[in-house]
């Protein structure tokens, strides 16, 4: 893979493009949303003539990061520099002026217009669009980039790959500076992916800096000159071209996996990681080992959820969690974990399988009955699903018990009981809220999560399912949430901990199961050798 850095010189034909071959730097970028920290202190440098592969799982913060580059969002902290000059990208127009063009995951062209017409959109309203000039420039750029698309074709009739090429041209229309591609391979055929790779190489040969976002290791290695990894909103590592070139594929992917799923050697020197490392090194155990004769509180057998076509979401999953045990479920996002959690909580009916709580079959019970029976579920979507944002904290705390005593009697709400209950939980769980009547949507992510934990753990919780319980939280809240989970388990709660964060699983779990394509592919005891075995089970198929 030869890279021609000499092509970084300004293209003389590019009269409409004052910006060319810029170096774009993100420095200390932090972006928060209600409930989550999407990016925390992220540094990223995009260099001319280089494909910078940005890897990360769903929810790692990739889309937020590029939305800030594209001018759709503003960072809360940190700065963006173009050629060393600090800039504010307050609109997509400004981004284009700075030479930063973005192609989003989903096609943003008007399908009923021709390619040329699509490119004419966005001009000033008072001026008649100059079709000939547009076609001329399109043909010029297409030739330069090695793209073969008819400017008069109706966009909706082009293949997705061709539409993407049109979008790339549009993104570079105002200047060949930096091109950001958000998961561009997700909608392409293998052939189309090859073609995109070749196109990226031609673009970098002209000196364009390309940000290539993906969650596939192989693509990052094949097409990237430099690979950066985002994890849980933080930049956890970068492999520069000098190093990357010297690595064979196997070693490189191993390095990347280590970055993606956490590694004891990562410079994060916070307690959870140290704890995980200590457990791994055999220097400590999570706590007293679980009595192997302890009763199985939550027993799941052969649970299956079909999907209309293709392999099932959840495929014959069986496991049992004992009293006081934490059973981790590892796996890359989207392998059926969410569906499994929803089946266990009662939000979804499985096509077959049995679920027993303390020996009693509960698969026919609804959410409130299971909640009452002691089976609780802490969802990963704390603002979108776990809470009703405009409702006060106190109502959110009883939302799974609507109509039940002591909070309702004869169908009427007992405001005092609801409020007292909320005040107790707010104090016990250290929820920082101005009042129990504050709409929960106004609280920070950490406090919303504390409220959810309070709701699910209070009373007689026997078995609790957590789905990514610390996703998007800051360190203090991560620590306190994990302490809650551990304490609850120590008090006898059978725990199922679904997480994509291997450190978290290593820190908390007694055993760790791996979920892949809807199946549990294995369960390993947590200990010195667990990380390697889990990573193998987890990424085996993602390897080339």
């Amino acid at each position: 893979m030869a890279r021609d850095s000499a092509a970084a010189a300004v293209d003389s034909e590019d009269a409409a493009a004052p910006v060319s071959a810029a170096t774009v730097e993100l420095r200390g970028i932090t972006k928060r949303f209600p409930g989550v920290v999407a990016n925390q202190d992220v540094d990223l440098t995009i260099r001319p003539g280089e494909v910078h592969a940005l890897l990360g799982e769903n929810g790692a913060g990739k889309s937020t990061l590029i939305s800030m580059l594209a001018g759709l969002l503003q960072p809360d902290e940190g700065e963006i520099r173009v050629d060393g000059r600090s800039v504010v990208i307050d609109s997509p127009r400004r981004a284009l002026q700075l030479g930063i063009g973005t192609v989003f995951q989903h096609v943003m062209l008007v399908p009923t217009l021709t390619v040329a017409e699509n490119l004419m959109l966005g001009g000033p309203w008072w001026r008649r669009p100059d079709r000939d000039a547009v076609v001329r420039r399109f043909t010029e750029m297409a030739a330069a980039f090695g793209i073969d698309v008819d400017p008069d074709a109706v966009t909706g009739q082009l293949s997705l790959g061709e539409q993407q090429q049109v979008e790339i041209i549009r993104a570079l229309w105002r200047g060949e500076g930096v091109l950001v591609l958000d998961e561009p391979t997700s909608m392409l055929t293998p052939k189309g992916i090859e073609r995109l790779g070749a196109l990226m190489r031609r673009l970098t040969a002209r000196g364009i800096g390309v940000v290539f976002i993906t969650h596939k290791l192989k693509e990052a290695f094949d097409f990237g000159d430099r690979v950066s990894v985002l994890r849980l909103g933080r930049m956890v590592g970068e492999i520069p071209p000098e190093t990357l070139r010297g690595l064979d594929e196997k070693t490189a992917t191993d390095r990347i996996i280590a970055l993606m799923f956490g590694h004891p050697e990562t410079p994060e020197a916070d307690t959870p990681v140290e704890r995980a490392a200590a457990i791994e090194g055999g220097r400590m155990t999570r706590r007293n080992p679980v009595d192997p004769r302890a009763p199985e509180v939550l027993a799941v057998e052969d649970v299956t959820l079909e999907r209309p076509e293709g392999r099932p979401y959840v495929d014959g999953v069986s496991f049992a969690a004992r009293r006081g045990e934490i059973l981790g479920i590892a796996g890359i996002d989207g392998n059926g974990q969410k569906q499994l959690a929803e089946i266990l909580s009662g939000q979804r009916r499985p096509d077959r399988g049995t679920i027993r709580l303390d020996g009693r079959a509960i698969e026919r019970l609804g959410v409130p009955e299971r909640h009452k029976a002691g089976l609780r579920y802490v969802t990963d979507d704390r603002l979108g699903e776990g809470t009703v944002a405009p409702f006060p904290v106190e109502l959110n705390l009883v939302i799974k018990q609507i109509g039940e005593p002591p909070f309702w009697s004869g169908g009427m709400a007992r405001a005092g009981a609801i409020q007292d209950h909320a005040e107790d939980l707010v104090e016990d769980y250290d929820v920082r809220t101005p009042s129990t009547r504050t709409p929960i949507g106004r609280l920070s992510g950490g406090n919303i999560q504390k409220t959810l934990l309070a709701r699910e753990l209070h009373g007689r919780a026997k078995a609790v399912i957590y789905n990514k319980p610390t996703y998007g939280l800051d360190l203090n809240n991560i620590r306190s949430a994990r302490a809650r989970i551990r304490d609850a388990a120590d008090a006898g709660v059978a725990t199922v901990l679904i997480s994509t964060d291997l450190d978290e699983l290593m820190e908390l779990s007694d055993r760790i199961a791996v979920m892949l394509r809807g199946r549990l592919t294995g369960i390993v005891d947590n200990g010195p050798d667990a990380r390697r075995r889990i990573a193998e089970l987890m990424t085996g198929v993602d390897r080339p």
């Binding site: 776990g386 009703v388 006060p392 009547r437």
Partner: protein, 366 residues
């Protein structure tokens, strides 16, 4: 634009109680409500000036006729009955996040059925049987007319704004067809249903012309308000309205609650039709369509889905519309000028809401 309007009671309504926060919230919503009213009155007054009418004379005349004259006041209160029931219908729907814009169709069909049913029934049965049965039939008819949009929304997520509006077009025409083809009174030349004798109608209050339907309507609004803000059932509906995903998470059956919302809302709209026929008109003429539904929607928004506020606004609107009818005869201002006023209200409501939203956002950022 209206999606930005939040029910004021939605947040803290389940828990009554004291505290400065509550009073501040009430003060805020009073301010948010009165500002658009004042702005609308001022701008509408400017329009009157432009067409050469003194706005003060006009407003004074409207208030005098609609409120301060005894006959006018009785008419005003009579007018409130159907509007209040329709308001109750919309409170249920809007608080549950269902945009039932088909209340005019539900109202009209129920009215026609009642107009057809009541006269023959009144000949055979005592009044205390006829009136409740007719109101129940009307409620059932209204609910039935919402069934299709309800099922489409509950099971196919088809946008109910479109389907209910379409059902209103169908319902209006269907009501006409019923009057002209099936329920036509053979003894009159104009196409209309048989007329219910005055003595068989809903009894009047004391010595007035006001029929006691308004009492029923007031009770309906108050019951709906309490159900939506204080009961478990109301909270379930509001949860579905505020966040359907959270409703599923809490184990609520979203489709079933959606159908229930439609049924209750449309049944109240149907009952409004019954009260209007049984209390005021006694029959339905072909092409009769008072269009109360479109008038009440902005009022319910203005009231932020609060039952007490709906009562106040319906009263004010009735004064305007009864007074406006007299004023249009006397001062030459078209009758539909009242609708201009309501439209202005709505526009200013949206603007004030938007500004308040921006202000609060700015505050929460800093």
């Amino acid at each position: 634009m209206m999606a930005g309007v939040e029910p004021e009671g939605g947040a803290g309504a389940a828990a009554a109680g004291g505290g400065g926060e509550r009073w501040r919230a009430i003060g805020r919503s009073v301010l948010l409500t009165l500002t658009p009213v004042v702005l609308a009155l001022v701008v509408a007054g400017l329009i009157l000036v432009a067409v050469g009418v003194d706005p003060l004379t006009y407003y004074a005349y409207v208030v005098d006729r609609g409120l301060f004259s005894w006959l006018g006041l009785q008419e005003t209160i009579t007018r409130m009955a159907p509007l209040l029931l329709l308001g109750a219908s919309l409170i249920v729907a809007f608080r549950a996040g269902i945009w039932n814009l088909g209340i005019d169709g539900q109202f009209l069909l129920a009215a026609v059925l009642v107009a057809a049913l009541a006269p023959p029934m009144a000949q055979a049965l005592p009044q205390w049987v006829v009136l409740p049965v007719c109101i129940l039939v009307a409620a059932a008819a209204g609910a039935a007319w919402s069934l299709l949009p309800a099922l489409l929304k509950a099971y196919q997520q088809v946008n109910e704004i479109i389907t209910t509006l379409m059902m209103t077009f169908l319902g209006t025409s269907f009501a006409n067809v019923l009057v002209k083809l099936f329920f036509r009174d053979p003894d009159t030349t104009v196409p209309q249903t048989r007329t219910l004798p005055v003595e068989d109608r809903i009894p009047r209050l004391f010595d007035t012309t006001i029929n006691s339907g308004v009492i029923l309507a007031l009770i309906a609004v108050l019951v709906v308000h309490v159900v939506m803000t204080r009961t478990a059932f109301g909270l379930r509906l509001r949860t579905v309205g505020a966040n359907p995903k959270a409703a599923v998470h809490a184990g609520l059956s979203v489709p079933r609650l959606t159908v229930a919302t439609f049924a209750i809302s449309a049944a109240l709209a149907g009952a409004a039709g019954a009260v209007e026929i049984l209390g005021v008109w006694g029959n339905v003429r072909a092409d009769w369509n008072p269009g109360y539904g479109l008038a009440i929607i902005p009022l319910v928004f203005l009231a932020r889905f609060n039952g007490y506020a709906v009562i106040a606004f319906v009263f004010a609107f009735s004064v305007l519309s009864i007074g406006g009818e007299s004023a249009s005869r006397r001062l030459g201002v078209p009758h539909f000028y009242i609708l201009v006023l309501v439209a202005l209200l709505l526009i200013f409501l949206a603007m004030v809401e938007y500004i308040d939203h921006r202000r609060r956002q700015a505050k929460s950022v800093s």
